[in-house]
Structures are given as C-alpha cells and as structure tokens.
C-alpha cells in the first residue's frame, strides 16, 4: 500500500493523537462479525488486567456519556435536573478466526453504573463476574442484576495476596449462587488462567444451549 502524501493513519487532530489502529492492530478485511463478553466486577478487582492478559491489542478505553434525570427526585416535575455521567470502559479484542472477532469489555459492577449495561449486555454471549473476596457485596448485587436480565455468567475468583481465603463452597453459599453456575479460580494476571475462565464460560453456554429444548 502506498499512501502518497496523506497517511491514512495520521491524525486530523494533530500528530500526538492517534487517528486509528496501529498497523499490527488492524483486523483483516474478512472480519464479518463480532461477539462480546462482559467482565464485571468492582474497582480494582482486575477487570482491565484480565482483558489485557488475553487481548491481542493493547486494551483501549471507550467512554459513554449519559444524561440522567436526577435519581430518585421524582417530585421535581418540570424542573430541569440532569446530571451528566461519563464512564470509561476498558476493552480488548481476540480474533477467533478470519471472520469472527471476540471483544471483551470490563465494566464496573456498582449499581450507579448499571445504566451502562443496557447497550452492553444486549447481544453479549455472557459475562464473567470477577469476585473480590474482600468486597463480596458488590458482586452480590451484580449477580442479582445479571440473573434478572437473564445474562448467563460464570464467576471467577481473583484471589489477592492477603485476602480472605474462603473455600469455594463457602463463597458459593455466601453469594447465594446456584450449583449450576460455574465458579473457578482466576488469576487475572495470567493469560492461561484468564483463557480457561473464558473457556469455562463458553462450555457453560454450550451446556445451556444444548440442554435447551428449543435452541432457536
């Protein structure tokens, strides 16, 4: 490819801001469709670390802005009361084959970020809930919300040094998880461990699909 005077990767905003992927991060023209998996968990639980461990591109950040009516302020009808929320989501990419691309999105689990979930979980294959044993309550809410939305998920326990070492069975009971939902140890820094966690999710989805009387 020759670019003559205008380099297609040069930024219109100036040389410091990249205007596109690095050459090595370009998808083949044959890429026809993508799927996504969402990694949910509280701050610092290792979502971005997990994404980075398996992604073929350096994790990127996308922003979503949402103008929300003031939460829980229903009695101010007619009064402009809006807040603008901007939340960053890190994501990565795995080329499955020449046609298919898998995207992994890390999203915060706290309730105030659930507005992000609407576009995010729609069409997602499923989710990995990254569990921080130091802050179980965040994951508890997340799991309830996923169940309500009918999003299949597995739970990855990212054990931090010095965090409480509960046995899996105890964690399952504490999280009120059904026996059918897989729970695995997941070291978010370790590529193999993250891959296995994603495979656990895929196998679980496979089980759900093949067990379903009407697979569409």
């Amino acid at each position: 490819m020759d670019y003559r005077s205008s380099d297609p990767y040069a930024s219109p905003y100036g040389p410091d801001i990249p205007a596109g992927p690095r050459r090595e991060d370009v998808l083949p023209a044959s890429a026809t469709a993508a799927v996504k998996v969402v990694i949910v968990g509280g701050f610092g639980v290792g979502k971005t670390t997990l994404v980075g461990a398996v992604s073929e591109i350096r994790p990127l950040t996308t922003e979503e802005t949402m103008t929300q009516a003031g939460v829980g302020v229903d009695d101010l009808a007619g009064v402009e009361h809006k807040t603008e929320t901007t939340v960053a989501m890190d994501f990565g990419r795995i080329s499955i084959n020449e046609q298919l691309v898998l995207y992994l999105f890390g999203t915060p689990g706290q309730q105030r970020f659930w507005f992000l979930w609407n576009g995010l979980f729609e069409g997602a294959l499923g989710a990995v809930v990254l569990l921080d044993t130091r802050r179980l309550e965040v994951s508890y809410d997340v799991i309830g919300q996923l169940e309500e939305r009918g999003v299949p998920f597995v739970v990855g326990v990212n054990r931090f040094p010095g965090s409480p070492t509960y046995p899996m069975a105890e964690l399952r009971a504490a999280m009120d998880l059904e026996d059918s939902v897989p729970m695995v140890d997941c070291d978010a820094r370790d590529r193999g461990s993250c891959r296995d966690t994603l495979l656990t999710l895929m196998r679980y989805l496979y089980t759900l699909t093949t067990a379903s009387p009407e697979p569409q």
Binding site: P8, A31, L60, L120, G123
Partner: protein, 121 residues
C-alpha cells in the same frame, strides 16, 4: 435491516431493549441499531467534502473496526460517535457489519468457533 415495524429479533427477557443511538430528533425514522461491536468499514476512498470527524472515521475504517475501537481512537463518547456513524451510514460512506445476532442462547457452532479460537491463546 429495515425500518418497518418492531424488530422481531428482540430477545425475550430483555424488555427494555435500548438502542445505542441517542437523540434521534432529526433522524428518528432512520434510526440505525449500532452495537459497541458492530464492525464499520468504509465504502469510499475519498474524503472529499467530508467534515473532519467524518473524514477521520472513513480514513480509519479502510479495514473493519468496531464502534468501540473507533470511539477509543477518536476519544469520542459512544453516543456522539453513533450520531456521526448514523450520518455516514445514511450517506453510504461506510457500511455496518452487525454483530452475530444474539438469540436467547447462542448458536452451538458459534460457541465451538469461539472455544477453538480461545484454545489457541
């Protein structure tokens, strides 16, 4: 994809199925459903006459790129980018390759493909 009637593919169990496209005041009837992982590909080599933001998108999408990636590279919120993409789609400057449609449960062959791909990591 057409604008006639509700989408029959609306997944059961997701009553508040939202479109990412926001606003829509002036293009309400042309609303395009764009996902974070919809792949965008330019249909044109020429950026003549395009606004800088549109030109930047056309330029970086010579090869397929997801909405999320474009948003990241341009440092634009997804909702803003969606607006720009809707305009480019309407003018046929880019094409959109929608994600694998999500049934209530994913297709077995799709899952097998993903598993095979992951095994290679």
């Amino acid at each position: 994809m057409n604008g006639a009637g509700p989408d029959p593919a609306t997944a059961p169990g997701s009553p508040d199925r939202l479109y990412i496209l926001t606003g829509g005041q002036d293009r309400a009837e042309k609303r395009t459903e764009l996902d974070l992982v919809t792949l965008i590909v330019s249909r044109t080599e020429s950026e003549a006459g395009l606004q800088p933001e549109h030109a930047a998108i056309v330029r970086m999408c010579h090869y397929p790129l997801s909405v999320a990636e474009i948003s990241a590279y341009l440092e634009l919120p997804v909702s803003t980018l969606t607006q720009l993409l809707t305009e480019l789609l309407a003018d046929r400057q880019v094409e959109a390759r929608p994600p694998v449609p999500a049934a209530a449960l994913p297709d077995v062959r799709l899952l097998e493909a993903v598993m095979n791909g992951l095994q290679k990591l």
